[in-house]
C-alpha cells in the first residue's frame, strides 16, 4: 500500500499527463489547449489533495481498544463479541452481586430488589455488553470505510499512472482499457445481535429482541444480509485528455461512495437508537425503590420489612 505517497503519485500523474499531451498534440489528437497544456493539467494535484487528508484507519485502534475494555467490565455470561471476530472477553467475576444477602429482609421493596435487580443482574450486564459492542461496531465500520477508501484511491492513482506510461510510449497506442474497483460500500454491512428478554411483565417480546447497527463486513461473525458487492468499472483512454477525464470521474465516484457510506452508517445508527428505546427495559433494571425511600419508609413493610 503506497497511500502515504499519494501526492507524489498525483504530481507524477500531472507530469506524465503533460508529457503525453505534448505527444498527442504532435499527432493532432484533441483537444486544443487554449491556456496551454501545463495550465490545463495544473488541477490534478488539488483533486488528490483532499484524499491525502483522509483519516488513518489505525487512529481508530485506541478508541476501539477503550470500547473493548468497557465490554470486558460488563462480560458476565458470554465473552463473544458479536461484531468483531478478533475479539473475545473473559467472564468478569468481579461483576457480580453474589455477595448480597437479603434473606433477612422480606419487605415489599426488598423482595422486588431481589427479584428484579439482583437475580437478573448478570443478564442485564450481558445485554449492556452487547449494547457497547453495537456502538463499537460503528467505529469498526468507519475504520473499514477509510481503509477501503485509501485502497481505492491508491489503486486508481497507480492505474492512471500505468495507463499514461503505457500510452505515452506508443506513437499509435492500441485501445487501452483497465479495470478498477470501488470497495467502500462493500466494506460495511448491517449487523444485528440478540439480547436477552428481561424486565417487568410482559417480558415476552413480539419477535426476537435485537440490537442492530452498521459494522465492518470483514470483522463481523455473521451478517444478516451481504453488503453491496465491490463495484467494478472499466476505464479506457489512449490520450492524456481521455485518461485524465476517466480519472476525474473515478475520483468523483470514490467521493460519492464515501458519502454514501456515511449515510449508511448514520441510517444504521438511527435504527440502533430506536432499538435502544424499544429495548430499554431489557438493558437496565428499574431503579430500586429502596434507593428513594425515607428512613421511616425503608424500615416498614413497604421497604425492607422487619428484620428476621
Amino acid at each position: 500500500m503506497s497511500f502515504d505517497h499519494l501526492m507524489k503519485h498525483a504530481n507524477d500523474i500531472q507530469a506524465k499527463a503533460i508529457r503525453n499531451a505534448k505527444i498527442d498534440q504532435v499527432k493532432n489528437a484533441p483537444p486544443v489547449y487554449p491556456d496551454g497544456i501545463e495550465g490545463y493539467y495544473s488541477y490534478i494535484p488539488s483533486m488528490f489533495e483532499p484524499f491525502s487528508q483522509m483519516p488513518d484507519p489505525a487512529s481508530y485502534d485506541h478508541m476501539i481498544g477503550n470500547m473493548d475494555k468497557s465490554m470486558a467490565n460488563l462480560c458476565t455470561l458470554s465473552g463473544v463479541d458479536p461484531f468483531d471476530k478478533d475479539h473475545t472477553c473473559m467472564i468478569n467475576t468481579d461483576m457480580s452481586l453474589g455477595a448480597t444477602d437479603m434473606s433477612d429482609w422480606n419487605g415489599k421493596a426488598a423482595n422486588l430488589f431481589k427479584e428484579r435487580f439482583v437475580e437478573p443482574f448478570p443478564k442485564y450486564s450481558q445485554n449492556q455488553f452487547t449494547l457497547v459492542a453495537t456502538v463499537k461496531s460503528g467505529l469498526l465500520a468507519y475504520q473499514a470505510k477509510w481503509a477501503a477508501a485509501r485502497r481505492d484511491i491508491d489503486e486508481l492513482a497507480h492505474s492512471v499512472e500505468n495507463a499514461l506510461d503505457l500510452t505515452g510510449t506508443q506513437m499509435f497506442p492500441d485501445k487501452n482499457k483497465w479495470e478498477i474497483q470501488f470497495t467502500v460500500l462493500a466494506s460495511i454491512t448491517a449487523v444485528g445481535a440478540a439480547i436477552l428478554a428481561l424486565g417487568t411483565p410482559p417480558t415476552s417480546p413480539v419477535g426476537a429482541l435485537a440490537l442492530t447497527a452498521i459494522g465492518a463486513y470483514a470483522q463481523t461473525r455473521a451478517v444478516d444480509a451481504p453488503p453491496d458487492l465491490p463495484e467494478k468499472r472499466t476505464l479506457q483512454g489512449e490520450t492524456a485528455y481521455q485518461i485524465t477525464n476517466e480519472m476525474t470521474e473515478a475520483l468523483n465516484k470514490i467521493n460519492q461512495t464515501i458519502d454514501a457510506a456515511d449515510e449508511k452508517i448514520a441510517a444504521g445508527f438511527a435504527r440502533t437508537l430506536q432499538d435502544i428505546t424499544d429495548s430499554r427495559r431489557h438493558l437496565i433494571a428499574n431503579r430500586p425503590a429502596l434507593a428513594d425511600q425515607s428512613s421511616t419508609e425503608i424500615r416498614g413493610y413497604d421497604g425492607l420489612g422487619p428484620p428476621q
Partner: protein
C-alpha cells in the same frame, strides 16, 4: 417477632455487605461509562482531522454512544444510591439497639 440484639446485628451486617457489593460493582460501571466517553470524545477529535475534506460527524452514532453511556451511568447511580440507603438503614438500626450495634461492629471489623 422482629430480630433484636445480636440477631439484629447480623441482619444489619448483611445490609452492610450488600451495600459494599453494590458499591464495588458501581465502580466497575463508572469505569465502563468513562471508557465509552473517552472513545466518543477521541472519535469526535479524530473526525475533525481531515482539513481539506470535512469529515461529517454522524450525530446518530454520537447519540447512540451517549445513550449507552447513560445506561451505564444510571446503573452505577442506582447501585450507589441503593447502597447508601442500606448503609443508612443499618446505622439507623444500630443507633437504636446497643447489642445490635456491638455485634454489627464486631462483624464489620472481622470482615476485612
Amino acid at each position: 417477632m422482629p430480630d433484636q440484639g445480636e440477631a439484629l446485628g447480623v441482619d444489619i451486617f448483611h445490609l452492610y455487605k450488600t451495600a459494599k457489593n453494590l458499591r464495588e460493582v458501581a465502580v466497575i460501571y463508572r469505569d465502563s461509562a468513562r471508557l465509552l466517553s473517552l472513545s466518543e470524545s477521541s472519535w469526535l477529535a479524530n473526525a475533525g482531522e481531515s482539513r481539506s475534506r470535512p469529515h461529517p460527524v454522524a450525530p446518530e452514532w454520537e447519540t447512540a454512544c451517549a445513550e449507552t453511556t447513560k445506561v451505564l451511568e444510571d446503573t452505577a447511580r442506582n447501585l450507589d444510591d441503593t447502597a447508601h440507603a442500606l448503609d443508612r438503614t443499618a446505622d439507623d438500626y444500630a443507633a437504636t439497639d446497643q447489642a445490635a450495634a456491638a455485634e454489627y461492629k464486631r462483624l464489620r471489623e472481622a470482615d476485612v
